[in-house]
């Protein structure tokens, strides 16, 4: 059987950054299945309450006021069940949910209870209970627990020296990586943070950066092609998400291509002007929705064997802050999409939003451990055994039971 190694041209076409395992899992193959798993890491702490709103909670509208998604506003939230509704920027997810190919898990969090992005992402991706514990990720260790049926890629581990693989796929199991020939420009958010720093500490640098930003804005407004497109605009972000995801799917559908991989997306740290219904978060969720659609399209028949797990390091404050945004929180959502799911439901042990029910009086309280969700997927979709899940993949997680019934 000839194994497929992506050609140089295919690598050049890949505009996203995909990291996938170099092997095809044995056990599932033995059952006659050919499961695909993609993990999306959303960096920056996605505001779960703005992605999936608890419209049925009596405190909801009081808590978020005009920023609260409801069925009555314009744009109206998309109902999921009697209690929850989806951000209107995600019509594809809504459609898939209605047809049983998407599941929401709410009020979910890792064991991490501080609020640092780096440490939170470390825990999210390493699968350990605290930061700095490991150089490898839970996905890589899960792959290590699966006996490899066949090696993909003709014997080469990495195809491109490019962006560094996210922690979730790093480890002893060999990983293939694709990187785009040109990375997108620095995000609007990064630019703003830098400008803010300069304004406080180095006015000359602030002026120099400001001028270029101004020029580019004028150019764009005047319909002129800005010589150096400034920050990545909403359209570029959308395109980047869709192309990355679509390309990943293309590789995963090849008969002898990789089966399991991870992508990371930045931009979710919405401290100011969150833009839940229109603006920054709506654009990002829209881009995420587009990525999901791209995967569904590119997977074709293999969609029914696919699970995409969309996770983030923690959530955000229940209340809006002084700059129309939210600060770092605790519990959030995890989204699952794919034809292999037994979906169409929101899994949540809802803690409520009264001040007494909030974590430390400020955040949505976590009632489900994210590791339970991930274990459930790894067990039922990829046939990783319980013992491995409790010790190797998610160390010290014996008490966390794999969530059953996620898969069809």
């Amino acid at each position: 059987m000839t194994l497929h190694a992506p050609t140089r041209r295919e690598l050049l076409l890949a505009s996203g950054t995909l990291f996938t395992w170099a092997f095809v899992p044995r056990v599932a193959r033995a059952e006659g299945r050919d499961p695909r798993l993609l993990v999306f890491v959303l960096r920056g702490a996605l505001d779960g309450l703005a992605a999936v709103a608890p419209i049925g909670d009596p405190e909801w509208q009081r808590l978020r006021g005009e920023k609260a998604l409801t069925l009555g506003r314009t744009p109206a939230a998309l109902p999921l069940d009697s209690f929850f509704a989806l951000n209107p920027a995600m019509p594809n997810f809504h459609r898939l949910y209605k047809s049983g190919a998407a599941t929401v898990v709410h009020a979910v969090a890792t064991p991490y209870r501080e609020r640092s992005h780096f440490d939170g992402q470390d825990v999210l991706e390493s699968g350990f209970t605290g930061p700095g514990a490991s150089e490898s990720g839970w996905l890589n260790r899960a792959l290590g627990a699966l006996a490899p049926a066949a090696r993909v890629g003709g014997g080469k581990d990495a195809f491109a020296i490019g962006p560094i693989a996210p922690l979730v796929v790093r480890g002893s199991a060999p990983v293939l990586s694709w990187s785009p020939p040109r990375l997108p420009a620095a995000s609007e958010d990064t630019l703003m943070r830098l400008l803010d720093l300069y304004r406080h500490t180095d006015p000359a640098l602030a002026r120099a950066l400001d001028e270029r930003v101004g020029l580019a804005t004028i150019a764009r407004a005047g319909g002129m092609d800005a010589q150096q497109p400034r920050a990545a605009g909403a359209g570029q972000v959308r395109a980047y998400f869709a192309e990355s995801a679509g390309t990943a799917a293309k590789f995963l559908t090849r008969p002898d291509g990789p089966r399991i991989g991870a992508l990371a997306f930045d931009g979710w740290d919405t401290h100011a002007d969150e833009g839940v219904m229109s603006g920054r978060l709506a654009n990002l969720l829209g881009a995420l929705d587009g990525a999901i659609a791209a995967i569904e399209t590119e997977m074709k028949a293999a969609w029914r064997e696919t699970v995409v797990a969309i996770i983030t390091e923690f959530g955000r404050t229940a209340r809006i802050n002084g700059t129309d945004g939210t600060d770092h929180g605790t519990a959030t959502v995890a989204l699952l999409v794919g034809g292999a799911l037994k979906g169409g439901r929101v899994v949540a042990d809802w803690p409520g939003l009264r001040p007494a029910n909030l974590h430390e009086g400020r955040d949505l309280k976590p009632t489900t451990d994210l590791r339970a969700v991930l274990k459930g997927v790894l067990k039922d979709h990829l046939c990783v055994d319980d013992a491995a899940l409790a010790t190797k993949v998610f160390p010290d997680s014996g008490r966390v039971k794999p969530m059953a019934g996620l898969l069809a």
Partner: protein
């Protein structure tokens, strides 16, 4: 009040070196000045000993051979097209022929990829980058870069490209801790300089060659030696000096490949091109002793007080401040003269001068130093040369391709224009080269003692590691020195 030693250590790594790597600050905190002086004395510092690199003459010969082969390939296509033109079936006329001109004009592509001159250029660039990444402090590397810019040549001039890297090693590195007069002589005799500033074809009007043909004197090199390399603009020389000096160095040329294939690309004093007779240059008369005439003028220029002042000023402006304190420039000028142009002594004087340490961190790092500094901060020890070259090009400091003999400027303001491009590059560097290192630790390791609380906060609160690293590389403490 005792100055925080880690502050001075950190400052010195940015101001005099190529930026800290993890552990750099601690390694020299007990005696930063001593560490700089130690690097000056260390035999490996500033050296590139890669046996795979070619000497400049050898490189020139390889480039010439490649060009001949390309030409032969192009010519090989011509007869086919001529045959078509003669073919009766193409009786319709010239317009219907197989476009022989186009075929000849297109370079044939038997092997894809860069030709020999470009490969030589990239190999040298790569070696230089690795030397910069591996340097302990990078003070000697910075000095090499300084002198290389002072005595710059440009790869954009055809035959210079394959040899500009070797030029830096042979003429600059070899003398960076030696005497100015030796570096000056090595530079002005080097084929790269002789080609770049057209002296290789400069012919004395009254020389044997000059009398036979109409071509004559080219003043380019002579002028730039006086104006840029030694005395400095608008100082003691006049136009007549430029002309007479140009005559002095006629005959300083390069062995042409067709004449002597074994020695092609080497320096050659061609007496047939040399203008006969004594010449007066800046108030002194130089008898015609062939090649010694030029050497004598260079020796005088190397000792001249105007040269000392010019060089001292440039050094202070590059390392310390756009407007360096007069006392610093005076101190360096005096040291230059007292030590008879000893460049190691000059460097010592620079890093022991109090003004060099007291100066506010106002200078913006030039693109090359900033990029290497970011890579060192990220723990990179080896990298692809392509993206680094592209980044330097984008930021306006293409390697060995200065737009003019004056070299890249040292004033900070013009470099500010590229600040937003630096952000995109910082973003890419952070994604390509940032390991899973903790950005907070990286901040401590690289700018810790200098960092403001604003910078600390910005890095700590970033939404992802790559963003944190990009912000670190763009922070004022990282951009300025």
């Amino acid at each position: 009040m005792a100055v925080d030693p880690t502050f001075e250590a950190c400052l010195s790594l940015h101001r005099f070196g190529l930026g800290p790597r993890a552990g750099s600050i601690a390694a020299i905190a007990s005696d930063p000045r001593g560490a700089l002086l130690a690097e000056l004395e260390s035999p490996e510092a500033g050296r590139i000993d890669d046996p795979a690199l070619s000497g400049s003459a050898q490189a020139a010969r390889a480039a010439f051979k490649f060009q001949q082969e390309q030409r032969a390939l192009r010519l090989a296509q011509r007869p086919r097209s001529d045959a078509n033109a003669a073919n009766p079936r193409n009786a319709a006329g010239p317009a219907q022929t197989q476009m022989p001109d186009k075929a000849a004009a297109q370079p044939p592509q038997p092997n894809a990829g860069p030709g020999v001159p470009q490969r030589l250029y990239l190999d040298e660039a790569r070696a230089r980058m690795h030397a910069a990444l591996g340097a302990r402090i990078g003070f000697v590397e910075r000095l090499v870069w300084f002198w290389s810019n002072h005595f710059c040549v440009s790869a954009d001039k055809g035959n210079v490209r394959p040899i500009c890297g070797a030029y830096e090693r042979e003429a600059i590195r070899a003398h960076v801790r030696g005497h100015f007069r030796d570096m000056l002589l090595a530079v002005e005799s080097h084929p790269a300089m002789l080609i770049y500033l057209d002296n290789a074809r400069s012919i004395g009007p009254a020389s044997m060659a000059g009398l036979r043909q109409k071509r004559g004197l080219n003043e380019n090199l002579a002028r730039e030696i006086l104006e840029l390399h030694t005395l400095g603009v608008r100082t003691v020389y006049k136009q007549e000096d430029v002309t007479s000096f140009a005559k002095v160095i006629t005959g300083w040329t390069v062995v042409p490949p067709r004449q002597d294939p074994a020695h092609a690309g080497e320096f050659w004093f061609n007496s047939r091109m040399h203008e006969p007779g004594a010449q007066m240059v800046v108030g002194k008369s130089y008898p015609d002793l062939g090649i010694e005439q030029g050497r004598a003028v260079l020796a005088t220029l190397a000792r001249h007080p105007a040269t000392a002042k010019h060089v001292a000023g440039k050094l202070a402006r590059h390392f310390v401040a756009d407007e360096p304190p007069a006392s610093l420039v005076q101190r360096l000028t005096k040291r230059f003269l007292d030590s008879d142009g000893n460049l190691k002594e000059l460097a010592k004087a620079l890093v022991t001068a109090p003004e060099a340490w007291d100066a506010a961190r106002g200078k913006l790092k030039r693109p090359g130093e900033w990029i290497i500094g970011a890579m060192r901060a990220a723990g990179t020890t080896a990298a692809d040369i392509g993206p680094v070259m592209q980044a330097q090009n984008l930021l306006g400091e293409p390697l060995w391709r200065q737009a003019a003999p004056k070299g890249f400027g040292d004033e900070s303001n013009p470099w500010l224009d590229g600040l937003s491009q630096r952000l995109d590059i910082a973003n890419q560097l952070a994604r390509r080269m940032g390991a899973q290192a903790d950005p907070r630790q990286m901040l401590e390791d690289t700018i810790g003692p200098l960092a403001s609380s604003d910078t600390r906060q910005a890095v700590t609160r970033a939404e992802s590691r790559p963003q944190a690293m990009a912000l670190l590389f763009m922070a004022p403490e990282f951009q300025r020195r």
